[in-house]
Amino acid sequence: MDHDATGRAIAEPGDRRTREPGTAAGGPRLGRRRLLRLLGLGALGVAPLPVLPELIRAAGRDEPVQGTGDPARTRDGRIRQWVMIIDLRSCDGCQSVGQPPRCTAACIEGHFAPEPMEWIEVFEADLPGGGTQFIPTPCQHCQNPPCVNVCPVAATFSTPEGTVLIDQDRCIGCRICMASCPYDRRFFNWGDAPVPPESLLADYSPEHQVPVRRGTVMKCDFCPDMARAGTLPYCIQACPQRALYYGDLEEDVATNGRALVSVSRFLAENQAERQKEELGTKPRVYYIPGHGEAVGRDVFTPGREPTEWPWMERAAEAVTWQR
């Protein structure tokens, strides 16, 4: 096929160069006016960027709930810094009670936590010298929280009270927080889990996480709403051995529901530790080492009763899953 037949001209060598001066307008050289225009257009192009999020927010549904307004304060007006101390010397995994761990059960009932979520989970770990110990593990409420760092939409956030909460109205369900949590303390609503119908009527708050929202992440919220109202979290109230303490670092006081302790002193006196301290997550949950010796537990009696979800029969058609 010949070129001329297709109607295209064959340029002569050198043709380009001779034409060049006349076509400066299309050339890449930037004159001053051109540069100014470029900058102006660039500014115009970039200007709407900050407006975009606002537009998207405005177009969205109701503004998601974030935080809870005013943080809890001490009598003299300083912000509470919630803390939990778990005395492992007194934890026997509820072996002596012969029931599933009461802390887990109370938490599940109080928060209508769907199966198989154990926001405070009693792990049974091997002791170095043989035998086992029970370690009730709620969310560690890190002060350098890996989950908050990685969340793309600030759905999980640190509060002024030092706790870490999740706004299930904002969570997009990407689960990077679950990948980054070194304590395995985050749970996902994979489907429509069975929950009692009355829970669906509750007013949602990130401090209580009821009712559940499918496709979002949940975890222990440290019950700051209850503490603010002057009661203790479900798990603390329920512990038959009084092994769990809830307190405030700011006022330096904690209680297991009976006795009061000075947090700093209690921790120092009893060689308290935090889980995986080496990670630098700075948890707000402290452990006093032990294996139930204060309540007479035999370390060579392993096992605890499996956790139960009381409303399983009530929602027979609901989807369930395993961890």
Partner: protein
């Protein structure tokens, strides 16, 4: 000049052929891919209806096949960057017949990869929250920024060098094709008629883009790896991850390019332009990257394995002996060692061998992504028995649909756009046939030919 003209004419006809003739086999392929996509749509609808509970993912292994596929697709998107940008910067002339395919793989793979992130979300309805409430600290936001930038740059990088070819299509197909095509080519050719000014603008645009796209591509796969490396999981806790992922991305990109090249070469009779040389050169590049990958793996495994920190022992056991043993050994031997062997042995050093190696590498790299994601999450964090993960039919279906989407987009693309960079091939071919040893500076004269219109 006559010989050159005849050669050129044949080249243009080759480029135009897919648009002029469409066989039954093509429609059968499209129908098949659409069927797979439809099946995937049904699977996704199931997932939307019931929630992610229909997948095999659970709290303890909370990412699986979707995220692995996302990483895989973002990885193969590096085909375009490497072939097109790096080889263009280094003025490797043999690249010209395959650049267009590589660039299109980039764009399509990015689209497919990004869609897997959406598929993985528990609340896809809230995906815009990423823009409304984005936090700069989150690796996912880095990903969103890097991938949108990369997608924009890749589309531009696909489009800009295609302008003269689009003008060719516009002129050669004018009146001989459907109205929408005529309109499309007219619009996309943006008034190209090959003037010197236009060539200069085009040259500078390509020059800037080919430099710009390399750091963007490197950043993209680095931040993809940081989704993992920024967490506190033992097997992911590695400073090497960024470089490792970039190397793996280019590695798998070359592999997928070889496969696409082989298919298009056979389907559209491109043997004259896409020659054995291209397969061999790409095969050697792939072998070189296999060596880099072997090095990276050794570096990673030895630094972790020598110290055997908490969790590493478990990880090594699952990687080499139990859970992921078969997959991981396939990856190491079939995916990394085999391509080098194939490139070294004279009797496998041919198109067939390279395509086989590329198939192995593609499979192995998907498996590698899968093993990285799942094995990393499987190492127990607390005192609980390790969880297990097996993808369900929904996940497999969506993987199939993702691959089908990838194939379908490329298939459709070949019917609309020039699959060979005509003017670049002409530039290279005519520079070497008409005037051997001609300096690159002399090329614009022949470039004029490529995009010239009836002035």
């Amino acid at each position: 000049m006559a010989a050159v003209s005849a050669w050129r004419g044949r080249l243009e006809e080759t480029a135009l052929a897919p648009i002029r003739r469409t066989g039954l086999r093509y429609w059968a392929l499209v129908a098949f891919l659409l069927a797979v996509l439809g099946w995937g749509a049904y699977a996704y609808w199931t997932q939307l209806r019931d929630g992610l509970v229909v997948t095999g993912m659970r709290d303890r292994i909370s990412w699986g096949l979707y995220i692995a596929t996302f990483v895989f697709f973002i990885g193969i998107s590096h085909a375009g960057t490497l072939i097109s940008a790096i080889l263009r910067v280094s003025q490797a002339r043999w690249r010209t017949p395959v650049t267009r395919m590589a660039e299109f793989i980039t764009v399509v793979a990015l689209v497919c990869g990004a869609s897997f992130v959406i598929i993985d979300l528990g609340r896809p309805d809230r995906v815009l929250n990423v823009f409304a409430y984005g936090r700069w600290q989150s690796p996912i936001i880095w990903d969103v920024l890097a991938i949108t930038t990369y997608l924009t740059a890749s589309i531009t990088y696909l489009f800009v060098p295609m302008i003269p070819d689009l003008a060719l299509f516009r002129d050669r197909l004018a009146g001989r094709t459907s109205r929408w095509r005529g309109w499309l080519y007219r619009a996309l050719a943006i008034g190209w008629d090959g003037t010197a000014a236009q060539w200069r603008s085009l040259g500078s645009a390509i020059g800037v883009l080919m430099i710009l796209i390399i750091p963007i591509a490197v950043s993209v796969h680095t931040v993809v790896s940081w989704i993992f490396a920024m967490t506190m999981r033992v097997p992911w806790n590695s400073a090497l991850f960024g470089a490792f992922f970039v190397a793996g991305a280019i590695f798998s990109g070359i592999a997928i390019l070889i496969i696409v090249m082989a298919i298009l070469r056979r389907g559209y009779h491109l043997d004259e332009y896409v020659t054995e040389k291209h397969f061999l050169y790409l095969g050697y590049l792939m072998a070189a990257f296999a060596a880099i990958m072997i090095y990276a793996n050794i570096s990673e495994l030895v630094t972790h394995g020598y110290k055997m920190e908490e969790g590493v022992e478990f990880h090594f056991r699952q990687l080499f002996l139990t859970q992921f043993g078969a997959l991981y050994w396939f990856y190491l031997l079939g995916g990394l060692v085999a391509p080098i062997v194939i490139a070294l042995l004279p009797w496998t050093r041919n198109v067939r061998g390279m395509v086989a190696a590329a198939l192995l590498v593609t499979m192995a790299m998907w498996i590698e992504r899968y093993v990285i994601v799942v094995s990393g999450l499987r190492v127990p964090l607390m005192a609980y028995p390790p969880a297990d993960y097996a993808p369900t039919w929904v996940e497999w279906s969506l993987l199939a649909a993702g691959l089908a989407l990838f194939a379908l987009l490329i298939t459709l693309f070949t019917k609309v756009f020039p699959i060979i960079a005509v003017w670049e091939v002409a530039e290279e071919g005519e520079a070497s046939t008409a005037a051997p040893g001609t300096d690159r500076r002399a090329v614009p004269e022949t470039m004029e030919l490529a995009g010239g219109t009836g002035r």
